[in-house]
Subunit: 289 residues, 2 copies
C-alpha cells in the first residue's frame, strides 16, 4: 500500500466531504476549506488507513472515518490558534484562519468541522450502524473530555507554572496522543481487529503520539518560522515549559527515539508486516517540520 | 405528562451527564456546568420528550437525547456570546461564560459540550444502534452546515446590510428553527412515529421555531435587561435588522400569533391529543423573557 496513493485518496475525499459551496453558506465552507485543504501532513488519517491495511481490511471503508479524524484535528488547530488561546498568526506557512477571515468565521468553521466529522461517519454508506456507533464513540471520547480538550485545558492551566515531566507527559498524552491513538483504534474497529491486535496497535499509537509531540517541542525550539510553518517558538513566547526546555534537546530527542523503537517492536509482534506503519513511525523520528 | 416532572428529569440527567469533576479536568467541567446548569427554559429537550410522549413512546429512551440537544444549544450560546461574535456580557441574568471564566475556557467548554452531545447519544444504553445513528445524523445536520451554524454565518454576513423579510426568515429558520425542528424529529425517531406524524410534527416544529425567534426579536426591543436576562437590545447595538425593527412590533406579534395557531392546527390532526405540545406552543406566544 503506497503512501502517496493513500494521501491522494484522503485529499480527494476531504475535497468531496467539504465541497465548494454556493451562497448562503459560501463563507462557511470557504473558511473551513482554507484550513482543511491547506496542506498538512495528514498523519492521523494516514495512520487510520494504514492500520486497516495492516490488518488486511478494506481501506475503502476507512476513508470517510479518516477524513472525519482530520476534520477534528483541523477544528482543534483553528480554535487553538485563536487570539484567546495560543494567538498564533501562522500555520502551515500561511496566515491562520482568524487572520485570513474574520475571527467569528474561524470559531464557526471550527464548530462546523467538528459537527461535520460526526455527520460524515453517520452518513458513510459503507459502514454498518454498529461500526458507526463505535467509531463515533471513540472519536468523541478521544477528542473530548477524556482526550484532546482535557489536554488543552491542562495545557492552559500549566502556563506560567513549572510543571514536572510527568505533568508534561500527561498534557501530551491527552492533547495530542489521544487523537493519534484514536486513529489506530478506529482502524482496528473498521478492520475487525482482535483484542491482541488492538493492544499492540494502541501501544504503537501511544508511543508515536508522545514521540510526535516531543519532536514538536524540539522543533519549536530549533526551527525557523519558515521551516516549521508556524510562528517561531510560540511556546517560548507564551512562557511554556516543554519537554525540550525542561530536559534539553538531546535528552528529548533520545526519548523520542526510544519511543519510536518501542512502537516498532509492537508492530513486529503483529502477524502481518506493516511497512507503512513502520514508515510513519520513522517519519515522526526524522521529521524536520 | 407533567411539564414540571419532565423538567426535573432533564435537570437531573444534565447534572449526571456533565458531572462535577476532579482535577485535572475540573476547570473544563466547571465551565461547562456554569452554562449548562445555569437555568434556561429547556424548550428543546422539553419538546423532544413531549413529542415522544405525544406518540405514546417511552420517555426514558428520550432523556439522554434531549440532554444532548440542550448541550448543543448551550455550546452555541457560549460561542455566540464570545467577543468576536455577539460580544454579550450577560445571559440568563448572570455574566456570560467568557466573563466568568477565561475566554479560552469558554471556547473549550463549548467545544466539549458539542463533542459530549454526540458521545452521550452513542453511549445511551436504552437505544439500539440504528436509532443512535439516525439521532446523531439529525443532530449533526440540523446544528451544522444545513442548520444552526449556516444560520449564524448568514446572520453575521447580514449585519450592516438591510436584509429583506425573506432573508430574516431564512436566518431564523437556520439559526434557531432547525434545532427546534430537530427536537421533534428526534422525538419521532425515538417513538417510531409514522411519516404522517413526522410531517405534522415537523410543521409544528418549524412554526413554533419561527414564532420563538420573532418573539425574541420583539422582546429584544421591548424588554429590560433584568427581565430578558441578557444585555438589552444587543441586536440594536450591533445595528442588526430584525423582524421587529423591519415590520414593527405589532406586525411581528401578529405573525407569531398566526404561526402558533398553525402549529396547533397541526397538533389537532394527530391521533392523540398532546396537551404538553400545545402548552409549549402557547408558552412561546405568551413568553415575556
Amino acid at each position: 500500500m503506497d503512501k502517496a496513493y493513500i494521501l491522494s485518496l484522503i485529499e480527494n475525499a476531504l475535497d468531496t466531504l467539504v465541497p465548494e459551496s454556493t451562497m448562503p453558506y459560501k463563507a462557511l465552507f470557504s473558511a473551513a476549506r482554507y484550513s482543511l485543504l491547506g496542506g498538512g501532513k495528514r498523519i492521523r488519517p494516514l495512520l487510520l488507513i494504514a492500520t486497516v491495511a495492516s490488518l488486511n481490511g478494506d481501506i475503502n471503508r476507512a476513508i470517510t472515518s479518516a477524513c472525519a479524524l482530520e476534520m477534528v484535528h483541523t477544528y482543534s488547530m483553528i480554535h487553538d490558534d485563536l487570539p484567546c488561546m495560543d494567538d498564533d498568526d501562522f500555520r502551515r506557512n500561511k496566515p491562520t484562519l482568524h487572520k485570513a477571515f474574520p475571527e467569528a468565521h474561524a470559531v464557526l468553521a471550527g464548530d462546523f468541522l467538528l459537527t461535520h466529522a460526526f455527520l460524515a461517519i453517520a452518513s458513510d454508506a459503507l459502514l454498518d450502524d454498529e461500526t458507526k456507533v463505535k467509531l463515533i464513540s471513540i472519536l468523541a471520547r478521544n477528542s473530548g473530555s477524556e482526550g484532546m480538550i482535557a489536554g488543552q485545558i491542562m495545557d492552559i492551566e500549566a502556563e506560567n507554572q513549572t510543571p514536572t515531566i510527568h505533568n508534561i507527559e500527561m498534557i501530551h498524552k491527552y492533547k495530542t496522543g489521544q487523537l493519534i491513538t484514536a486513529a489506530v483504534t478506529m482502524g482496528c474497529v473498521i478492520a475487525n481487529g482482535t483484542d491482541t491486535e488492538m493492544q499492540l496497535l494502541c501501544h504503537y499509537g501511544d508511543a508515536i503520539g508522545l514521540a510526535f509531540q516531543i519532536t514538536d517541542d524540539v522543533l519549536d525550539v530549533t526551527n525557523s518560522q519558515q521551516k516549521h510553518g508556524k510562528s517561531i517558538s510560540s511556546d517560548a513566547v507564551n512562557n511554556k515549559t516543554t519537554y525540550a526546555t525542561l530536559l534539553g534537546i538531546d535528552v528529548a530527542r533520545a526519548k523520542a527515539h526510544a519511543l519510536i523503537e518501542s512502537a516498532k517492536d509492537a508492530l513486529h509482534r503483529l502477524e502481518r508486516p506493516s511497512p507503512l506503519l513502520q514508515e510513519i513511525a520513522d517519519s515522526i523520528r526524522n521529521r524536520n517540520h
